[in-house]
């Protein structure tokens, strides 16, 4: 019944364009949010349990990166130099700032020790401007869990993309 060969070429092209529009709209929304929040990644998914019970794996966090004067007690997301894994931890100390760089020390609520050992070799503080990609301002529980599933089971990505493509292409008004 639903058969690609039964589609008119014009209709098929329209459906493909439609699919491309959906993808580019999502991409534009993401980049727009990125500009508005001044953060390369304005929405992140919590990947570890180191901030429990505040955040659990799979929770969705909204970041804000305008206002570089981060205070102690804020929860920031940073990337360790040389590794591309975002880490969500709370600021427990701040030094410097003013004309020089603002330095931060972070700690997970569920970790007994601060993050000194987690940082790159020879680094004992975060540089607010270089390492931090945003400060957490909003929270939605659990809805990001699907991305954890997708990264842990890569074949799900293929299945999902395939299904999305099929539904858009085969949808007829």
């Amino acid at each position: 019944m639903l058969n690609l060969s039964s589609l008119q070429p014009r209709q098929l092209a329209a459906q493909i364009l439609n699919f491309a529009l959906v993808l580019s709209t999502a991409f534009m929304l993401w980049k727009g949010l990125s500009v508005a929040t001044d953060s390369p990644s304005p929405i992140v998914v919590v990947l570890s349990g180191s901030m429990e019970p505040a955040f659990q794996r799979g929770d969705l966090l909204f970041l804000w990166n305008r206002g570089q004067d981060t205070q102690v007690g804020e929860v920031v997301v940073y990337n360790v130099r040389g590794k591309d894994i975002p880490i969500v931890h709370r600021v427990v100390r701040r030094f410097g700032g003013g004309t020089g760089p603002l330095r931060l020390l972070t700690k997970g609520d569920n970790n007994a020790a601060d993050d000194t050992e987690l940082y790159a070799r020879g680094q004992s503080f975060l540089n607010r401007q270089e390492d931090v990609i945003g400060s957490v301002v909003g929270y939605i529980p659990f809805v990001g869990y699907v991305t954890i599933l997708l990264s842990e089971y890569p074949w799900l990505k293929t299945v999902m993309l395939g299904l999305m493509g099929l539904t858009v292409v085969l949808q007829r008004e």
């Binding site: 007690g73 929860v75 709370r90 003013g98 020089g100 609520d109 007994a112 020790a113 050992e117 909003g138």
Partner: protein, 240 residues
């Protein structure tokens, strides 16, 4: 065309719309619930010692050990959308360079669980908290009104070091109470000093200015005096 797929899509779409709207209403409801937090914090004792402040410290440095008294009434922070309140005390002290703003560090923190939150090992149990498993009416009352603390001569959880390695003889140090309200869904909020809508700013919650004394020799200080309070953090050893 009303195939099963279309019906399923419509049902799921409606579900997400309703869920999103309800979540948004819950998230906004917190902003119309009045808050009147008050706190009283007093410095009890401060010492500066040279040594290794933590078991994982690699070098010897000066560190400050601060004991304090704390009385709080933060019960209005707990609404139906509050999961927990992360309560902390910061010590703020001027930097050595005049161009730099003051540095600050957390010396003590506690996770105050809302009555609606499930038990977690990291949650703080204030001294004298009655055993919740007993169906004692007094215990029930204590659970119903979280955010009320009375701590005397409390040990810090963390000792303060500075990146210069020196903290002795600094003046104009001040202890301040802060918190972060963690909702079930919505915006995270922090302690404010001034009024904002129906939320009153924190009344009290700041000590008089004091100074860090000179370095005391480690041998002259009782080891017990420098002990820190332990939290319930699950990950010991290397942070994850």
């Amino acid at each position: 065309m009303h195939s099963t797929l279309v019906r399923a899509q419509t049902a799921f779409g409606f579900f997400t719309t309703v869920a999103f709207c309800v979540a948004a209403l819950i998230a906004l409801s917190g902003f119309v619930s009045p808050q009147t937090p008050s706190a009283d914090i007093k410095l009890r004792n401060v010492q500066v010692v040279r040594g290794r402040p933590n078991y994982y410290s690699t070098k010897k440095e000066e560190y400050a050990h601060i004991k304090f008294d704390l009385d709080t009434d933060l019960s209005t922070l707990f609404t139906w959308n509050t999961k927990q309140v992360f309560l902390y005390i910061t010590a703020t002290y001027p930097s050595l360079k005049p161009s730099e703003p003051p540095s600050s560090a957390i010396i003590w923190d506690a996770i105050l669980a809302s009555p609606s939150a499930p038990w977690h090992q990291n949650q703080y149990e204030a001294p004298g908290t009655p055993d919740t498993r007993k169906s004692d009416p007094e215990a029930q009352k204590a659970i119903a009104a979280p955010g009320i603390l009375h701590l005397q001569n409390q040990r810090p959880k963390y000792q303060i070091t500075d990146y210069t390695g020196k903290v002795a003889n600094r003046s104009d140090v001040v202890l301040e109470l802060g918190w972060n309200v963690q909702p079930w869904v919505g915006a995270l909020t922090w302690r404010g000093w001034s009024d904002w809508g129906v939320w009153k700013g924190l009344k009290g919650g700041r000590t008089e200015r004091f100074g860090f004394p000179g370095v005391k020799e480690r041998v002259k200080v009782q080891k017990e005096d420098l002990g820190t309070a332990k939290g319930g953090e699950g990950n010991r050893g290397k942070p994850a």
